[in-house]
């Protein structure tokens, strides 16, 4: 059918062209597949610089009239690379076309791979050469801005912080909103154990039809990482990568200098201190990677070692990391048996530092001295290790003392290994067995000496000094079998895959803390037996947890059908169960169906390489975030006489089930010559959120239990464009843009409306800034509208509903009478990434520009410290152009909600290749990378990047939510923010 269609078109086109030809020179020729030597039917032949052209006939031959002056033919064929042929002085040519790289790239899709052309769902592949460059410590940052619809935000520049990753917005409310990571086939592997230098490519499965094969953990998308490996019969090659980088803070909060502060009526303590300057530094980092790869006969290997020493811009923050990875593969028994082995080991010693030093540097009195001996009044500085402290003031600690006296160290060791055995039972049938294990140990020690006013109890007679110890062990085991069967029937091919997966993880942790140490002569974290707390019961904090074996068991199958090499169908089904679900709902079913058609073939669009239209539907799930949530939980209650009893702290729910996401994706892939584009439209419905929901305390005995409730809908559009603007041997310029936009509506929720995201102390507890309401968008910032300042310095709010009555109390936030309105939205309307790659000779330049529009942020520093509150004259004031003259009362309002649109040059790299004639060096590249050199934004806080999760308020040395982050409260910049940094990196790449 397809061939007939093509032939008809070919004949028609030949006739058409024949009509116009007047013939000055006729060139004939034959076009072959460069590998198989088979002739190619229907290849395009175009005379360069003219309209003249033809296509090849059934024998792959053509005849074309070449006008005078023209002497180059351009040969193109879908799936092959274009080729130019010089026909000066000849009238007969033979052309061998090479397979195109663009269109026949192999894409890993989970339990197998497909040629890119056959993909019927929204899958994007990013290769190493397209990754972000520079001082990148977190593999997710390699992808920032590169994939339409993938949000990677690492607010601030904390070297020990992880990026927040979101695919197509919020995909789950009560569960893990981060995508599932699959590394070299191992589901649920940790990105922390992959060095960015070892990554070959990353595939992102964006829609439900692609992710359904991963079932109950596929809702937040799937990121498939393929690490580099050696090639068969390849000479051994050594590669060295080295980077030296320095970073400095940018966009720090605009507070007052000592002189400004005194002029504004602040309490003058006589000194002048730039606290931000005192606790930040130029962070110096160096990174070295060495790898060897090659192959001998049927075996190949790659071994790499990576070392990173990274210093953050905050004093005493950074890490040392050693990572090594070994990938081996071999084949035996006439290539019937294949064995792939991967392992990696990471040891990381991190100085977490105290981000609170930055927070208090912003608000600490700028006239206060660093050291107590410069105090304007009698002050016993010995008690505080020589540092000054403003005593008697809530939430105020000397930032330099925080950063210098205390220690917050972590050690993480991660060891992964896995093997995949494949056996080809017959040509069409392969069976695979995979085993993988991942072990992670994390230890954290925090030590506050007896002289630390911040959490160290320097003013306390009984509790001076505190040591905290935390230890965590995680193991993960994976066993999978699957079989792949290939069948060719006429002009169709069918691939069947089916298998079984068993995943098991366990968790164990323990914590203890004690203090009251004799003095500050020693670091007593290593000598806790000196603690007076051991003598006084009740001051020792201890806690331990052992998780049950969390298991996921799945059966899965998939069928891929290719008809005519132009119609592609895929259907998958996964039946999966988890121990984390209620006894009545252990098992779930996750189907998907998708189809694609390459219309370029059918419509015979001669200048179009690909015009694929695809449609997919798939259901995926999300599991409860922790084990045991369907079961009751009780806590120990002690009594003064030593008696022990328990009380309920979680009511049971036997019906707890997975969160479900159903998604339809429609996409178009288009490629013609130097231009390619990809468009995706999707609609996703998420239901049965897993929520810790308020229940009738009278019935359940406790007012909360985990239930399924709620519906969310997201609709979005993603567009990726790529164009080779200039492409010749001396100069190339390629530019690409990815754009995405989406809207998320909360359709059903446990209550018609609620507010979340408490602003916090001092004085602004009970001030929930985010409105969550049925039928409305997620992330709406809600509060009174600032109008003016009254004579007493209090804010005057707008009578929004014009009823003559001003209702602005925070606990009336949901009252129909309330004079609040939507002040902004925490999620951006439009995000884009713009890549520019230029090369000329040995030079190349890579400029990456990124932006987001339409989102707002609550600038909490301003909300607390910008009004000139008389009773707060011992805190520094924030001073931005957005402040209001004469305002002396701190109340949350529209005044502190700022548009945070931004465009930034994220990454600018200039590199040059250097030839070495000798010395055993095959090639060298030196590069210079600027990260974050320019940010254009009107936002006055530390970083305009969207804040997609909220870690909650924290005050007076307390911590926010450490483990839980609220996904329903985007749009708040908290005071515990690590400041963003700008860095310059010098890189050297050597190949031997």
């Amino acid at each position: 059918m397809k061939k007939l269609f093509q032939h008809g078109l070919a004949v028609g086109l030949v006739l058409l062209f024949a009509g116009f030809s007047y013939g000055q020179k006729t060139v004939t020729g034959t076009i072959y597949d460069g590998e198989t030597n088979e002739s190619l039917i229907g290849a395009n032949v175009l005379v360069k610089g003219t309209d003249a052209g033809t296509i090849t006939d059934i024998d792959g031959t053509f005849s074309v009239d070449v006008p005078a002056g023209a002497n180059t033919l351009v040969i193109s064929y879908t799936g092959y690379q274009d080729q130019e042929v010089d026909v000066t002085g000849t009238s007969s040519v033979t052309v061998m076309l090479d397979k195109g790289q663009l269109l026949d790239e192999i894409v890993v899709v989970g339990y197998g791979s497909q040629s890119e052309k056959e993909i019927t769902s929204a899958v994007v592949k990013v290769d190493a050469e397209d990754f972000n460059q520079g001082n990148i410590t977190d593999p997710a940052q390699l992808l920032q801005g590169k994939v339409a619809g993938l949000q990677v935000y690492n607010r601030g520049g904390d070297p020990n912080g992880n990026s927040t990753i979101r695919l197509r917005g919020l995909s789950t409310v009560g569960s893990n909103a981060e995508p599932l990571v699959v590394i070299d086939g191992i589901i649920g592997a940790s990105l922390d154990n992959v060095d960015p230098n070892d990554i070959e490519s990353i595939n992102v499965l964006k829609d439900g039809s692609a992710a359904a094969i991963y079932g109950s953990r596929g809702s937040s998308g799937v990121i498939i990482v393929t690490t580099k490996s050696g090639g068969k019969d390849e000479e051994i090659q050594l590669t060295y990568n080295g980077q030296l980088s320095t970073s400095s803070p940018v966009n720090s909060v605009q507070n007052m200098t000592a002189a400004e502060f005194v002029a504004a009526g602040g309490t003058d303590l006589g000194s002048s201190t730039d606290w931000l300057d005192e606790v930040t530094r130029a962070g110096l980092s160096h990174i070295h990677s060495l790898s060897a790869s090659g192959g001998i006969g049927n075996s190949s290997f790659r071994v790499s070692t990576n070392f990173r020493n990274v210093d953050g811009i905050l004093t005493n923050s950074g890490f040392d990391q050693f990572n090594t990875r070994v990938n081996l593969s071999t084949k035996a028994f006439n290539d019937k048996l294949s064995i792939d082995f991967n392992s990696s080991f990471t040891n990381r010693d991190q100085q977490n530092g105290f981000v609170e030093a930055l927070r208090y540097a912003v608000l600490y009195n700028p006239t206060a001295p660093v050291f107590g001996d410069q105090s304007p009044f009698p002050f016993n500085s010995e008690q505080f290790g020589g540092y000054f402290e403003t005593l008697g003031l809530f939430d105020s600690f000397n930032p330099v003392a925080i950063a210098n006296l205390n220690r917050n160290d972590g050690q993480r060791r991660e060891f992964n290994y896995g093997a995949t055995l494949g056996y080809r039972l017959m040509d069409a049938l392969t069976v695979n067995f995979r085993f993988a294990r991942q072990e992670t140990d994390y230890a954290n020690q925090i030590y506050y000496p007896t002289t630390s006013n911040f959490n160290g109890g320097a003013t306390s007679p009984t509790r001076k000094g505190l040591a905290e110890f935390y230890q965590q062990d995680l193991t993960f085991n994976l066993y999978e079998y699957y079989a792949t069967y290939l069948a060719d029937v006429g002009n169709s091919s069918l691939t069947l895959t089916g298998g079984y997966s068993y995943q098991e993880d366990t968790f164990r942790d323990n914590f203890f803390s004690l203090g009251d140490f004799p003095n500050n002569e020693y670091d007593f974290s290593g000598i806790v037996e000196a603690s007076q707390d051991l003598q006084e019961a009740g001051f020792i904090g201890a806690n331990s947890n052992v998780s049950p074996d969390s298991k996921i068991i799945a059966f899965f199958g998939r069928a891929n059908l290719v008809v005519d090499n132009a119609i592609f169908l895929s259907a998958a089904l996964r039946r999966e169960g988890s121990t984390r679900l209620g006894t009545n709902n252990k098992w779930g079913l996750f189907p998907s169906l998708s189809a694609g058609v390459d219309l370029a073939n059918y419509l015979g669009m001669s200048n179009v390489d690909l015009f694929k239209v695809r449609l997919g539907y798939g259901v995926t799930g999300s599991l409860p975030p922790l084990p045991g949530l369907s079961q009751p939980q009780r806590q120990i209650v002690n009594a003064p006489d030593g008696a022990v009893s328990t009380e309920l702290t979680r009511a049971a729910n036997d019906s707890l089930k997975w969160e479900s996401k159903a998604e339809i994706n429609f996409g178009i892939d288009y490629a013609a010559g130097r231009f390619s584009a990809s468009l995706d439209l999707y609609n996703r419905d998420i239901s049965d959120f897993i929520l810790n929901r308020a229940v009738d305390a009278a019935i359940f005995g406790f007012n909360r239990r985990w239930e399924n409730a709620g519906k969310l809908n997201t609709k979005g559009i993603e567009l990726a464009l790529n164009y080779d603007v200039v492409n010749n041997s001396n100069f190339t310029y390629n530019t690409g843009v990815v754009l995405s936009t989406y809207k998320t509506i909360l359709e059903e929720y446990v209550v018609p409306a609620e507010t979340r995201g408490n602003l916090g102390a001092p004085g602004q507890n009970g001030t929930n800034m985010i409105l969550v309401e049925e039928g409305e968008e997620i992330g709406r910032i809600w509060g009174p509208v600032f109008e003016s300042v009254d004579a007493e310095g209090s804010p005057v709010f707008r009578d929004v509903n014009g009823d003559g009555m001003l209702v602005t109390a925070q606990d009336k936030a949901l009252d129909p009478e309330v004079d609040f309105e939507v002040l902004g939205n925490g999620t951006p309307d439009l995000e884009f990434g713009w890549t520019n790659q230029l090369s000329f000779g040995k030079w190349s330049v890579n400029a990456f520009i990124r932006g987001a529009f339409g989102h707002s942020l609550v600038n909490t520093f301003r909300a607390f410290y910008e009004p000139r509150v008389s009773t707060q004259s011992s805190y520094n004031y924030i001073d931005t152009p957005k402040g209001e003259e004469g305002l002396t009362t701190a109340r949350f309002s529209s005044l502190y909600v700022e548009k945070a649109d931004f465009v930034k040059i994220d990454n600018l790299t200039i590199s040059r290749g250097i030839d070495f004639g000798a010395g055993g060096i095959d090639g060298a590249v030196v590069s210079l990378t600027l990260q974050n050199p320019l940010v254009i934004t009107g936002y006055t806080g530390t970083d305009p990047e969207p804040s997609l999760v909220d870690s909650g308020a924290a005050d007076n040395g307390g911590r926010g939510f450490v483990n839980t982050q609220d996904v329903l409260s985007p749009g708040i910049e908290r005071r515990n923010s690590y400041f963003a940094s700008r860095s310059v990196t010098l890189g050297l790449n050597l190949k031997f």
Partner: protein
């Protein structure tokens, strides 16, 4: 192998795996069912012991003496106390001002928390009752549950009476809740009604004087409070029964008012401050950090700084720098303060004035003045002034006399060890006096009982009593004991005006049912009138 058998082999491998589909979750690291262990009596008195340990522990968890629950809503809504907004500090979205000015609504977070605290407590008692209890333990548990329902009756009026863990119950009218509390307490006492001639010899409750458990006198004390407020709760006065229950306790002679000679050492004394007494004697001894087994205690909550946390007055009331007066473990929060008018209602000679409040310039452990380097009143010395300049927005940081009746000890921890009375003899005298006066329609009938209290406080006896002077006296005596809201309502004064509190409407006398609870109940709870 032929093709067919190979395919068969592949699928056999897969089906082999399918044998392993067990998804049972064994929570090895969590407690999912009740466990309890008897403690060892270390001389500090038993906390209830055995099967009722968890049930009695709920008294500490149910907001009895900390911030954001029962104590807060009972105190901050009255003329005893407020939390003023100090610039940016302690505004908290206005909920503290709302409590004091009676503009609270169904979304008030503290009112929701208070509700949840009481039902959590009731569940624990219900679970204990579902287990194996002897007759005495069962009677104690029923009386304890009745006490928590008494709180709900007083706070919210119309609530669900759940008596079996996990089961639902319809919302009962306030009268039905009253009747339930009465019936349960009578059943625990083994009598059908309270009267002057009642016979408690067959009561399953004992008469042992262990104030951490409910005995006959404790149950009668709760009953007397219930009857005293019966007119408010049901419209029908029950003065006679209130007086009879109170008289039975007083006449038993088991308990004595703590007056002269009733003393304990002063654990708050600073070595460098000579004016600090060595001993706490009389009224202050009833509430001090070492008030265990005070002769006035009938039923008290057993707080302990180590194993019985939940009393945080030092944190809640004191200015940050007062840490150095008592060498407290942590810096306090500078929240609760008394109203000037209330403070001034005490005569200077009243021992309760010195015992109940902390005012004036503050000295540290060594006797030196305490400095507040972030002072906002132009004077670095920390000085608590009875006057509070304003409720909001810029109350001075040092304004307001600080509640100190449950006095602080040196080197105090965040949790305090003072036992907190639910029924004590001093209040029983006031209940009897008031009930007799109201029954007779003559306030002078309360004269004898009121003067017992005044005598202990070292103030001249009243020669006559009025409703107003009785309410004032009750306020002075019962300060910081979560009684004031209930008292003001009973005396018709709750809706009146004081200081920055405007008049409020009568529907405010019952708190709104929290919105979160109405939503969670799926329509089985309806809102109180007016909200």
């Amino acid at each position: 192998m032929n093709k067919f058998s190979k395919i068969l082999f592949a699928f056999a491998m897969i089906s082999l795996a399918s044998a392993c589909t067990d998804l049972e979750e064994d929570l090895v690291g969590d407690i999912t069912t009740e466990i309890s262990l008897d403690g060892i009596d270390t001389g500090g008195g038993s906390g209830g012991g055995g099967a009722l340990t968890g049930a009695y522990a709920e008294l500490r968890n149910a907001g009895t003496a900390n911030h954001f629950g029962y104590y807060s809503v009972q105190e901050l809504t009255t003329d005893e106390m407020c939390i003023a907004a100090k610039g940016g500090d302690w505004f908290d979205g206005g909920i503290l001002i709302e409590l004091h000015q009676h503009t609270y609504g169904p979304t008030h977070a503290m009112l929701n928390n208070t509700w949840v605290q009481q039902y959590n407590a009731i569940t624990t008692v219900n679970e204990a009752l579902a287990g194996n209890l002897d007759a005495n333990q069962e009677a104690q548990a029923r009386a304890l549950r009745a006490y928590f329902y008494y709180r709900l009756l007083d706070l919210y009026g119309s609530v669900k009476l759940v008596t079996t863990p996990g089961s639902d119950a319809p919302q009962s009218s306030r009268t039905d809740v009253f009747n339930f509390v009465e019936t349960e307490l009578l059943a625990a006492l083994g009598i059908s009604e309270v009267s002057a001639s009642m016979d408690l010899t067959n009561s399953p409750l004992g008469t042992d004087n262990n104030p951490y458990q409910i005995n006959q006198f404790g149950a009668l004390g709760i009953l007397s409070k219930l009857y005293l407020n019966s007119e408010v709760y049901t419209g029908t006065p029950r003065w006679g029964e209130a007086a009879a229950a109170a008289s039975y306790i007083i006449d038993s002679g088991v308990y004595q008012l703590c007056g002269d000679g009733c003393a304990v050492s002063n654990l708050g004394k600073r070595p460098g401050v000579d004016t600090d007494p060595d001993m706490l004697e009389g009224y202050p001894a009833v509430f001090g950090p070492n008030n265990d087994n005070n002769p006035e205690h009938i039923f008290v909550v057993n707080f302990d700084e180590v194993s019985g946390g939940g009393m945080n007055f030092s944190q809640m009331n004191l200015h940050y720098s007062s840490q150095f007066t008592w060498n407290l473990q942590s810096q306090p929060w500078n929240g609760y303060a008394s109203l000037e008018e209330f403070y001034n209602s005490y005569e200077d000679s009243d021992v309760r004035k010195g015992a109940n409040f902390i005012v004036g310039e503050q000295l540290d452990f060594g006797g030196s003045a305490i400095l507040d380097y972030a002072s906002d009143d132009g004077n670095l010395v920390l000085n608590y002034t009875p006057n509070i300049n304003e409720l909001q927005p810029n109350s001075l940081r040092e304004a307001g006399a600080r509640p100190g009746k449950f006095s602080f000890k040196q080197l105090g921890r965040n949790d305090m060890s003072n036992d907190y009375p639910i029924v004590r003899l001093g209040e029983v005298y006031l209940i009897r006096g008031e009930a007799m006066a109201r029954m007779a329609g003559d306030w002078n009938m309360a004269l004898d009982d009121v003067n017992v209290i005044r005598e202990r406080a070292k103030v001249a006896p009243f020669s006559s009593v009025t409703a107003d002077s009785f309410l004032e006296e009750r306020g002075r005596e019962m300060f910081q004991e979560s009684a004031r809201r209930t008292d003001l309502i009973r005396f018709g004064a709750y809706n009146g005006t004081w200081w920055e509190k405007p008049a409020s409407e009568p529907f405010r006398n019952i708190f709104p049912i929290p919105d979160e609870q109405i939503q969670a109940s799926g329509g089985t709870l309806s809102q109180n009138p007016g909200y």
